[in-house]
């Protein structure tokens, strides 16, 4: 075969990519030894004192650990559920719309927040929900006293889940809309001839037609159970709402890079990475079994 000679060129092509991967992804993986050390930056990875599992032990004994773990799960699971249901509902509604031009416009508009950063959106949200912002302005019409939203621990998870859903629901409809477009139109015609109304067609044709997609997305989102969304929370939280808003990633940042407790922060980050990795592997295995999903 002629392309036998190509293989050495293939290796050449791969060099820059793998160099990048090794330097910035693989090498840091070895840095997890910090989790087992009393890490001292001047002595480096290899000469810092080895302290075994002390950092992990401290993590489990720490008072805040439970709160942070629960906050992370509550926010992450809330987002997963909301980001499955809201886009699905919206896609079903949009699918009923027959005016194509309007459909296009609405799609373009709802994709928009996805492309904006959490820095920008947090700047806007902090203003919109501030004590004399427009939300409180509307509440005042109903005689409700101004609420300082981002200073209420009880409201914080809802604000986070809600604003994340607002940002992403449009973009998340893309997959659902593609699945909806894949349903054979003849099924709808047959159902209509049999006298099925809009609702019956939805239940008996549309939903079964996209059920694989729904299950697949649900299974794949399992890997996000510990991802509460660092960028968003980091830009919206403050010490007043730590009790419900501090999550693993924000805690790791503060502990490691601000308080310079490298070992402790690395240990917490490592626990998160390992649990997430296991969850993702489980979810991919399930997805490939039940929905014939393959990453490559």
């Amino acid at each position: 075969m002629r392309n036998r000679a190509f293989v050495k060129h293939y290796y050449l092509m791969l060099i820059p990519g793998f160099a990048w991967l090794i330097l910035f992804s693989i090498v840091p993986m070895f840095g997890i030894v910090i989790a087992f050390e009393d890490f001292n930056p001047t002595r480096g990875f290899f000469r810092s004192e080895w302290i075994g599992l002390d950092n992990f032990e401290y993590l489990f004994l720490m008072n805040d650990s439970k709160t942070i773990f629960i906050n992370t799960i509550v926010i992450a699971v809330g987002k997963i559920v909301s980001n499955l249901i809201v886009p699905l509902t919206f896609a079903l509604l949009l699918n009923e719309l027959r005016v194509t031009v309007l459909k296009r416009w609405i799609q373009t508009i709802v994709y928009m927040p996805h492309f904006l950063s959490w820095v920008i959106l947090s700047g806007i949200l902090l203003d919109v929900f501030s004590h004399n912002g427009p939300v409180n302005g509307v509440l005042a019409i109903f005689g409700i006293n101004p609420i300082i939203f981002f200073a209420k621990p009880g409201l914080f998870p809802f604000l986070i889940i809600g604003s994340d859903t607002w940002k992403e629901f449009g973009f998340n409809t893309i997959i659902y809309l593609a699945a909806l477009a894949g349903i054979n139109p003849a099924l709808y015609e047959a159902a209509a001839i049999d006298g099925a109304g809009r609702f019956k067609r939805l239940v008996h044709v549309t939903l079964p037609g996209i059920s694989t997609t729904i299950v697949l997305l649900a299974v794949l989102s399992l890997g996000n159970v510990l991802n509460a969304g660092f960028d968003q929370i980091f830009n919206l939280y403050n010490p007043i709402v730590y009790s419900t808003g501090d999550v693993i990633d924000t805690w790791v940042y503060r502990t490691g890079l601000l308080n310079l407790q490298y070992g402790l922060a690395t240990a917490a980050g490592l626990l998160k990475s390992v649990i997430s990795f296991v969850l993702i592997v489980v979810s991919y295995t399930l997805a490939s079994k039940f929905a014939n999903y393959r990453i490559f």
């Binding site: 060129h9 293939y10 993986m29 840095g31 910090i34 416009w105 949200l125 427009p134 690395t266 980050g269």
Partner: protein, 294 residues
């Protein structure tokens, strides 16, 4: 669908249109509000009088930004970062995806390399080891820390690999018969045929690097090396994250220059908002092709 429209079906259609327009309206509303604040009088904005229209319309904050060297400098850093990242990502992702799109028969260790990639995508060492690595590479304060620091975007590589694999095999075979070598095959055959997915990954790269603020925050030691998003984060968000009481939060909000900040936020949004609608048909195609397959 085939039947004539009944009265109740018309009502349904109309209320559906109203509902969907309302939802779309709520997606733009916060952004519209920010524009209105940026064009308002400072006192009116601080007092919270601005709703949907600017109060005391003026362009003062935008004029102020024109002379703001720090803002301008951060803007340029972001432009430099995005341009470098777009080029580097395009070149590296394509030259990596092309060999990895070959079958194991043709490129025997392909599957091993793919599993290494997937492992690197799913597992990471966490924040601190990553930071220490970049520090020991002496990249702090370098533009390359911002361009390369996020690591190889494996997901984008996989998108392109999957796209390449779905291209018709016959064309490649015909080109092989004509004696086309691997480099020409990649550059003159595969790249022109893969515009949708390449536009998609380029959009993802540009948006990611334009929006990314955290690497800008931790991988630069001085404020004058901040990219635009980090600059804005320091301006608008940081005061919020350090408050301890409700009253502090209130006063800080009143003290901040809301109109100027709103104008800066608005300018930072423009580049992304200007490109994504034009790439819409590509990314819809690219995402649905790459992520959920048969």
């Amino acid at each position: 669908m085939v039947q004539g429209k009944t009265y109740s079906s018309k009502i349904f259609d109309i209320s559906l249109i109203i509902l969907l327009c309302l939802i779309a309206f709520f997606c733009v509303l916060p952004l519209w509000y920010t524009l209105a604040v940026s064009l308002s009088e400072k006192a009116a904005a601080t007092a919270g009088e601005v709703r949907l229209w600017p109060v005391g319309f003026n362009m003062h904050s935008y004029k102020q930004i024109v002379g703001d060297m720090k803002f301008f400098h951060s803007f340029l850093i972001s432009v430099e970062r995005v341009s470098l990242a777009a080029i580097v990502n395009f070149v590296i992702i394509v030259s990596m995806a092309y060999p990895l799109s070959k079958s194991t028969k043709e490129f025997r260790i392909r599957n091993v390399l793919m599993w290494i990639l997937v492992f690197a995508m799913l597992f990471n060492g966490g924040l601190i080891p990553w930071y220490m690595t970049i520090k020991s590479l002496n990249l702090i304060d370098s533009i390359w820390a911002l361009v390369l620091g996020g690591g190889l975007p494996v997901f984008n590589v996989i998108l392109v690999i999957n796209y390449f694999r779905n291209l018709p095999k016959e064309m490649e075979e015909a080109a092989l018969v004509d004696g086309v070598g691997p480099w020409n095959m990649m550059i003159k055959m595969f790249i022109p045929l893969s515009v949708p997915v390449l536009a998609t990954i380029s959009l993802f790269t540009i948006v990611y690097h334009w929006n990314e603020f955290f690497n800008g925050l931790v991988l630069t030691s001085k404020g004058d090396h901040y990219p635009l998003q980090t600059y804005i984060q320091q301006l608008v968000v940081v005061i919020n994250t350090q408050t301890m009481t409700e009253d502090q939060l209130k006063t800080l909000n009143e003290m901040s220059n809301q109109t100027l900040n709103a104008a800066k936020i608005f300018i930072a949004m423009i580049p992304v908002l200007a490109i994504y609608p034009f790439l819409q048909r590509f990314f819809i195609h690219g995402i649905t092709l790459g992520s959920v397959k048969e």
